[in-house]
Amino acid sequence: MHIPDGYLSPATCGLFGAIMIPIWRRASRAVKKTLSVRQVPYLAIGAAFSFVIMMFNVPIPGGSTGHAVGGVLVAILLGPWAACIAVTVALVIQALLFGDGGITAIGVNCFNMAFVLPFVGYYVYTLISSDSPSGSGRRVIAAGAGAYVGIGAAALCAGIEFGLQPILYHTANGQALYSPYGLNVAVPAMVLGHLLVFGWVEVIVTALVVKYLQKQNSVFFKGERS
């Protein structure tokens, strides 16, 4: 899901960077309103937590392993706006310090993983969980469904971004200048790959973590307050 530098044109990267600026601004305002000064370290530690989730390898049938992105889980725990900032911080650190995801593509990656993924997932979660009690099984199912739909939506966005490149940016003889596959290849490749394999890892991690936090009687579902 992390798009490296060079896969997308500078215009695409610039456009998504411009789209993300008002989103980050809105997120900062929303977080200032909902989190007190006391909770500044909470946001930083939440960002570190969203980075660390990717270090946990989850066993999947067949003996292989995968890791979750955790965007929807962070949105359920911190609220969608705080999750937007937390995941952005994690993506900035990954791109700048570890070369995971491009620097020029930071706007696009943040749009997919720090905006679409947590927001779509979070609203699916709130829609399904509705006003069910915090310890109910419905919330576990809602968390899993949110994670699945969230990662599917983010993968769809990434597929469209890749697929538009050869249509918009090519030489006179039709040679693609950036990502070479059109929408007919890029969208199914991204969406099916994520819905058939990675989406399930996301579902398992998000649903089980919510279940364990319920068991421990945690009152950490901050998202419900914002």
Binding site: V40, N57, F220
Partner: protein
């Protein structure tokens, strides 16, 4: 222990490895950043602007030759910055560029990219024809990815991570955001160590997790537990911040100083970028 059980306990090993790779990468980067070299001697702000200018210029170029020249320039910069070339090539040519090469392989053939045929072959009764636009497109794509990875690796290997995060200020990013990024980076060390300890404990106490469903429960329980420890820690950190005089308005202590050498480098970089951009339009 059966082979299957070994395979299924892999997630413990891989999780430990993820944490160790993070810690190793971070330590190794600091080691290179502390060496004496050309890029290390530059002001982090100037270095970031110049390398980003190269990155943006390179992404705008449509000629594989010009981008290849820029890759050669990256090798010179790596050499002059005391980064072993073997390590640099390993970091910049494997994984992302190799993965990208695998992605573009089908575009080499006439079935995906029609055009002038370069050569045809028959393998196991399947005919294939490589085309000129296919080869040119794939070459441009892979060279661009390798060069962009090289520029980012040069930046991250020659700058202390703490300084690199503070450089975000020059882009007008609010202090509170820079503070969050810096704090987050410090906690990553703690959490990576925590993940490693968790799985070392699981391995030493359980040995092998026999079924993937049980393994998933182990992982989920540990993520939930990490979250609980996270929230406890945030309270303690806030108390520590208060005791050191935090009033709600963050202040960053270290300042950067640019020397004439930095300005000369910035000017030279911008001239090279303009030259590449101009050449890109002519070619």
């Amino acid at each position: 222990m059966s082979k299957t059980l070994h395979k299924r306990s892999d997630f413990i090993k891989r999780s430990m490895l993820s944490a160790l790779v993070f810690l190793k990468d971070a330590t190794l980067s600091e080691e290179y950043a502390n060496r004496k070299g050309f890029l290390q001697s530059l002001d982090p702000r100037i270095k970031t602007i110049s390398l980003l200018a190269f990155l943006v210029t390179m992404i705008s170029l449509k000629s594989a030759v010009l981008i290849g020249t820029l890759y050669g320039f990256c090798l010179i910069l790596a050499f002059s910055s005391s980064i072993p070339i073997r390590h640099f090539l390993g970091r910049t040519l494997f994984f992302i560029p190799f993965f990208s090469l695998c992605i573009v392989l089908p575009t080499l053939f006439s079935t995906v990219t029609p055009g002038d045929p370069v050569c045809s072959f028959n393998v196991l009764g399947i005919n294939g024809t490589l085309t000129r636009p296919g080869i040119d497109g794939a070459l441009l794509f892979v060279v661009r990815i390798a060069t962009s990875v090289s520029l980012v690796v040069l930046l991250s290997l020659t700058t202390r991570h703490s300084e690199l995060l503070k450089v975000l200020r020059i882009f007008g990013i609010p202090y509170i955001f820079v503070l969050t990024v810096s704090m987050c980076y410090r906690y990553l060390y703690i959490f990576a160590t925590m993940v490693e300890n968790i799985f070392t404990a699981v391995k030493s106490r359980v040995g092998v997790v026999s079924h993937h469903r049980h393994g998933q429960n182990v992982v989920a329980w540990n993520i939930a537990n990490t979250w609980n420890r996270t929230t406890q820690m945030s309270e303690e950190v806030y108390m520590a911040m208060l005791s050191r005089g935090y009033t709600g308005e963050p202040r960053l202590l270290s300042q950067f100083y640019a020397t004439p050498k930095d300005w000369v480098w910035l000017l030279s970089s911008l001239i090279i970028c303009a030259g590449l951009f101009y050449s890109g339009h002519i070619l």
